[in-house]
């Protein structure tokens, strides 16, 4: 239940940064390939995630591959939270 709430919240943040609800409908959407995310939006999302969950993601250690799709973002953040 906690995990589902967490996923929903992450997706909402992503949708607000990406300015599209498609990320809610398609968890395997290739975010960078479809230009839904770029560098600027990635750091916006990093900031929102820190504010919302207190999870710190360092841009200097960030790999695009780990956030390639909405599903991967959720998995990466869950891993960081050890959910």
């Amino acid at each position: 239940m906690i995990a589902a709430d967490f996923s929903d919240k992450v997706l909402q943040l992503l949708a607000s940064v990406a300015e599209t609800d498609e990320v809610l409908n398609n968890l395997d959407l290739p975010l960078y390939e479809y230009q839904v995310l770029d560098s600027m939006r990635t750091v916006q999302l990093i900031l929102m995630i820190e504010e919302e969950f207190g999870i710190k993601v360092s841009p200097a250690e960030f790999e695009r591959e780990s956030w390639r799709t909405p599903r991967k973002i959720i998995a990466d953040l869950q891993h960081r939270l050890h959910l």
Binding site: E19, T20, S39, E61
Partner: protein
């Protein structure tokens, strides 16, 4: 000694000093001088009296600097073009510029050594140095002509204000050469025997590599848009530890927020933070101010500063009458830094340029006011916006959308967050009903539009409508569309 001779002098006195670094490739002042001379000879031989511009198409390669100087040494202005621009946009610019030749880095590399010869110099102060294309409201980019005298006025001011150490500076080059912010780092760097450290768009797209490159860059003078610094600041390690040599941050192209300035001063206690302001038509920047703790304490919206010596700024009303201090009006700039006008567009030139108290003047379309002897920028009087420092005419995006076969009509508006434009939204009436999903339709349209417009001009959001809301006067109700965003 003019700017070109000044740059060349480093080639004679310090030929091994590094002029430019990009993607681990370096260019020395000796190479820059020798090879730009060779290129100038080649251009003179090939084109004789034809002084048409030389277009230079690349992405921060060292050869671009050789091409720029080679062109001006042969008394031809250069037109910088970035490879990120779509071909249709490049074609439009080339057609308007009447360029005699398009030079790529590969062309410059292949220039035979045997043609090396020192050309005679002859570029006069009023001779065009470069032509920079910006967004035009009708969908046609317009070329701003900047002369040697304009550029020298700007560089002389920058050098006097910042006292850069000769051979001691590394300038960050963040903006592509097709964006006039790059003129600040490029010519302040070359005029002082400094090194230009270019970061490619691949680096900007990959933060991990970007921070790695910055760590080893040795940058002393940071020149970028405020958005770029803001993005870098998200990383906590972006501080004096990462860039121990940085002594000043120079910002131009968009509003610098007190938050960004404050955070920089905290993370880089030994560096100065400068805010500057100016349109491309007045050569990069006309005003500047050092933002320190005192300024931050005093103003919630930062001033853009004082006018450069020798130039004048006035705030005028619709009849071009000068307004008193503290009244808001249009900013006009007069002085030797003001462009002679737009290339091959006497109509646009006549609209925007005029004489003011014996000097050439430009009406910026920017709103502002003077307070405490400082200029404050307060937005636009028209539909021009800035996104990440890039100047965009909404009409330009609309005209290019309407030119697409699938689009019947389009209105483009900025998405505003915290008082600043964050992205563009396009309201579109399609030529025919399409059953494709909204996302796929948006993606397809965006992709098609990317063949005509650079990435920074592409709307993020597409809203498909059957009809636009209308005002009682029968005009499209832009205000109600804006409210729906």
């Amino acid at each position: 000694m003019d700017l070109i001779e000044r740059i060349d002098r480093w080639g004679a006195v310090a030929p091994e000093a590094t002029a430019h670094i990009s993607d681990r490739k370096t260019l020395t002042y000796g190479q820059l001088r020798r090879r730009s001379d060779a290129l100038a000879s080649y251009l003179t031989e090939r084109f004789g009296d034809d002084r048409s511009p030389i277009a230079v198409l690349g992405h921060r390669e060292p050869e671009m600097l050789i091409a720029f100087l080679g062109a001006v040494k042969s008394c031809r202005p250069y037109v910088p073009l970035d490879t990120a621009l779509p071909q249709q946009r490049i074609d439009k610019i080339l057609a308007t510029s009447g360029a005699a030749l398009v030079l790529t880095p590969e062309d410059v590399r292949q220039l035979p050594e045997s043609q090396m010869r020192c050309p005679s110099r002859g570029l006069q102060g009023d001779g065009p140095f470069y032509v920079l294309f910006t967004s035009g409201s009708t969908g046609e980019p317009k070329g701003v002509i900047i002369t040697l005298a304009c550029l020298e006025h700007f560089v002389t001011w920058m050098l006097a204000e910042h006292r850069f150490t000769e051979f001691g500076e590394v300038f960050l080059n963040q903006a592509p050469f097709s964006f006039d912010l790059s003129v600040m780092d490029l010519y302040c760097g070359l005029a002082t025997g400094g090194t230009l450290f270019s970061i490619s768009r691949d680096l900007i797209a990959n933060p991990k590599e970007l921070y790695r490159a910055l760590t080893s860059s040795g940058v002393t003078t940071w020149v970028s848009t405020p958005s770029f610094a803001q993005m870098c600041l998200v990383e906590e390690k972006f501080s004096e530890t990462m860039l121990p040599r940085v002594r000043r941050f120079l910002f131009c192209g968009e509003t610098l927020t007190p938050q960004t300035a404050g955070l920089l001063l905290k993370r880089f206690p030994r560096a100065e933070v400068w805010n500057t302001y100016g349109p491309t038509e007045a050569t990069v920047a006309t005003t500047s101010i050092r933002v320190d703790a005192e300024i931050l304490k005093q103003y919630s919206a930062l001033p853009v500063g004082r006018t450069m010596p020798g130039s004048e700024i006035a705030i005028v009303n619709g009849n071009r009458e000068v307004l008193p201090v503290n009244q808001r009006g249009e900013i006009i700039i007069a002085g030797p830094n003001v462009s002679p006008g737009y290339l091959a567009r006497p109509d646009l030139t006549a609209d925007a340029f005029f004489q003011y108290r014996g000097q050439r003047a430009y009406r910026t379309g920017d709103l502002g006011r003077f307070r405490d002897n400082l200029l404050f920028f307060e937005g636009r009087i028209d539909d021009q916006i800035k996104l990440s420092g890039y100047r965009i005419e909404l009409g330009d995006v609309e005209a290019n959308l309407r030119a697409m076969a699938t689009v019947r009509d389009a209105i483009v508006l900025p998405v505003i967050k915290d008082g600043a434009a964050q992205s563009l939204a396009a309201f579109v009436l399609l030529a025919a009903r399409d059953e494709t999903s909204h996302f796929n339709l948006s993606y397809r349209l965006r992709n098609q539009l990317s063949e005509r417009l650079p990435a920074y001009m592409l709307p993020r959001k597409f809203i498909f409508l059957d009809a636009f809301p209308m005002t009682p006067n029968g005009k499209v109700d832009r205000a109600s569309l804006a409210k729906s965003l």
